[in-house]
């Protein structure tokens, strides 16, 4: 009885959490609201009419989708490996060195990441050796975005996998499930929420990626590069409507990702 009444009382934390949280929410929302309100709707519509904005929007959507898919395709296995290597406590590499490597792109300023990538895949690097041009192509954009955004998938998915009780997996194995079957039907569904959060973060980061993209592929333009170029040529008033387009596009795509992720996936046998 007393337990029930305690639960109904408003605890200080229950009252404080929304208040404290609201401070941060206001910090996010006010500048964006200002951005939206300061724009005459006509200017935003006019920006949507310009072929270079449409082209940049398409490039952004395509490249961010591809780099998010790549981040998931390669990031989830890496996260799984890191989580399990850590659990077994087997290798020093798995426990310390690899996670540190995963954090490199998060620590480096994006412009520096871009410089490093240009050095590695540009005409003096791998691209020159193989005779392939990566800088200034959509592949360059995807590379920059994947480099900068994929750690979000790896790190969130790793902690999601770590939270999956290893005994559950062992039980599945004891009952005759293969390793793949266990991953597919036990581990992945249990970790799915965390992975989805990582994918969402990665997409948002990829869509807004500017510094590394600027260095690696100024063309084909993505919206963040276009916003900067418009700003340098024409000033803030011209650049803001393009920023509103980016905001609308990214929000729409993030809603789609979350709708898609509502159901946990079932991988093929």
């Amino acid at each position: 009885m007393s337990r029930v009444s305690t639960a109904r009382e408003r605890s200080p934390w229950g009252a404080a959490a929304p208040l404290l949280g609201a401070v941060l929410l206001v910090l996010y929302a006010v500048p964006v609201a200002w951005l939206l309100l300061a724009q005459p709707p006509g200017a935003v519509l006019a920006a949507l009419d310009a072929p270079f904005v449409v082209g940049a929007a398409r490039n952004t959507l395509v490249s961010a989708s591809v780099s998010t898919a790549l981040a998931g395709l390669f990031g989830v296995p890496l996260a799984y490996w890191l989580a399990r290597a850590r659990f077994r406590g087997r290798t020093l590499v798995g426990r310390t060195l690899v996670p540190a490597v995963v954090a490199f792109p998060l620590v480096l300023p994006p412009v520096v990441s871009g410089m490093v990538l240009v050095g590695a895949v540009g005409s003096n690097g791998l691209g020159g050796l193989l005779g392939v041009r990566i800088t200034g192509t959509i592949a360059g954009v995807v590379l920059a975005q994947t480099f900068v955004a994929s750690p979000f998938v790896v790190l969130t998915a790793r902690s999601a996998f770590e939270r999956v009780d290893a005994h559950t997996e062992e039980a599945a194995r004891t009952l005759g499930a293969t390793e793949w079957g266990t991953f597919r039907r036990v581990t992945l569904p249990l970790a799915w929420r965390g992975i989805l959060a990582g994918v969402t973060l990665a997409f948002a980061r990829a869509a807004g990626e500017f510094g590394a993209t600027l260095m690696l592929a100024y063309y084909p333009r993505t919206l963040p590069v276009q916003i900067w170029a418009t700003f340098s040529g024409r000033g803030l008033d011209a650049a803001f409507p393009v920023a509103v387009v980016l905001l609308a596009l990214a929000s729409g795509a993030l809603v789609c990702i979350n709708l898609l992720g509502e159901s946990s996936p079932v991988l093929p046998e």
Binding site: L48, A50, P51, F52, V54, G55, A56, A57, R58, N59, L61, V62, S63, S65, V66, A69, M115, V118, G119, G122, S123, N124, T135, T137, I138, A139, V142, Y218, Y219, P220, R221, Q226, W228, A229, T230, F231, S232, G233, R234, G235, L236, D237, A238, A239, V242, V245, A248, L249, G252, A253, C256, L259, L260, E262, S263, S264, P265, V266, L267, P268
Partner: protein, 337 residues
């Protein structure tokens, strides 16, 4: 609105998978994602092609579709100083009958990108010909335009005070208006601002004027200076006349004795200097935009001729003196005037 429509594009198949909730469609999730990926890759290839000719900035003067013609001809790539961006992506692209791709950064960045092999453009254009010696040694280059420093001011009370004062700097010295400038260690505009202020001390016979005007708290990277100025955070800023024209700023012209625009005053400008952190000393000199072509093909030669011809520059606040273009160094035969 149409942003959301384009969201639907490559993701349509995935979105369909969400619509139904039975097990089959859940299984279909990854297939759908794969499908979306494939569509996206296909669109990516076309996006890549489309991007080659897309309009370089917010001008909307060219349509991205129209520049891709000429049977898939490779565009002439121009890596240019930031202050040339609009002039090149509007004026130059309109004047050249070929696809031209313009990329712009600060001049020092442009020179470094090329010197370090991180960019390989057909034509390089810098806001200071001295950079051709300092950072990006080339066999030759052509000076093709000058610019002038002006004091741009906002429409606020303080900004108007700068405009209406007998001498533009009095409200700044009196603390009634704030004056921003760019970082002298980062770009030529920054150290040229200091040259102009030094020259102003002498021109107005006000020793110490530069020190009175220079507030270390008001130094910004160029992008940040312009945002602060445009949002009214700064009342006045020293910028190039071309920037003020392109962006529609109100500005006060400075006398030719201090605005670094007059090639004939090279000697007087040379009396002032600035020590860069690298230990190099830059001397005052007339603002001179220089360009060099790095390839010899017909499209490049033709584009370069238009670049240095300079007819398109007037609309953007640049000045092209009679004697320009002025070539120096060992100019290859194909690029000779």
């Amino acid at each position: 609105m149409s942003a959301q429509r384009s969201v639907g594009g490559p993701r349509r198949r995935g979105a369909d998978g969400v619509g139904s909730t039975d097990g089959t469609s859940r299984r279909g999730f990854l297939t759908a994602l794969g499908g979306a990926g494939a569509t996206a890759v296909a669109a990516g290839v076309s996006g890549c092609v489309g991007g080659e000719g897309s309009t370089a900035d917010g001008s909307g003067s060219g349509d991205s579709g129209g520049d891709e013609g000429d049977g898939g001809e490779r565009p002439v790539s121009v890596l240019a100083a930031g202050s040339l961006q609009l002039a090149f992506s509007e004026g130059l692209r309109a004047a050249v009958d070929r696809p031209v791709q313009v990329e712009a950064h600060g001049s020092v960045t442009v020179a470094r990108l090329v010197a370090e092999g991180k960019r390989d453009p057909d034509i390089v254009a810098l806001a200071d010909t001295a950079l051709f010696d300092r950072i990006l040694p080339t066999e030759w280059h052509a000076e093709f335009a000058t610019n002038a420093l002006v004091v741009a001011h906002t429409d606020s009370d303080a900004g108007r005070r700068v405009a209406e004062a007998d001498r533009w700097f009095d409200p700044v010295v009196g603390g009634e208006a704030s004056l921003g400038r760019t970082d002298p260690d980062l770009d030529p505009l920054g150290y040229r601002t200091l040259f102009a202020l030094d020259l102003a001390s002498e021109y107005y016979d006000r020793p110490g004027l530069r020190d009175a005007l220079v507030d270390p708290g008001q130094i910004y990277p160029e992008t940040s200076l312009l945002s602060r100025f445009e949002t009214g955070d700064l009342d006045a800023a020293v910028v190039y006349r071309s920037m003020a024209e392109d962006r529609g700023y109100d500005y006060v012209d400075l006398p030719a004795e201090i605005d670094l625009s007059d090639p004939a005053r090279a000697e007087a400008y040379g009396a002032v200097s600035y020590d860069l952190p690298s230990g190099e000393t830059v001397r005052g000199a007339p603002i001179a935009y220089g360009a060099a072509a790095r390839r010899d093909g017909d499209p490049v030669v033709e584009t370069f001729e238009t670049v240095v011809g300079g007819e398109y520059l007037g609309d953007h606040g640049f000045v092209v003196p009679e004697e320009f273009p002025e070539y120096s160094g060992d100019v290859p035969r194909v690029h000779r005037p």
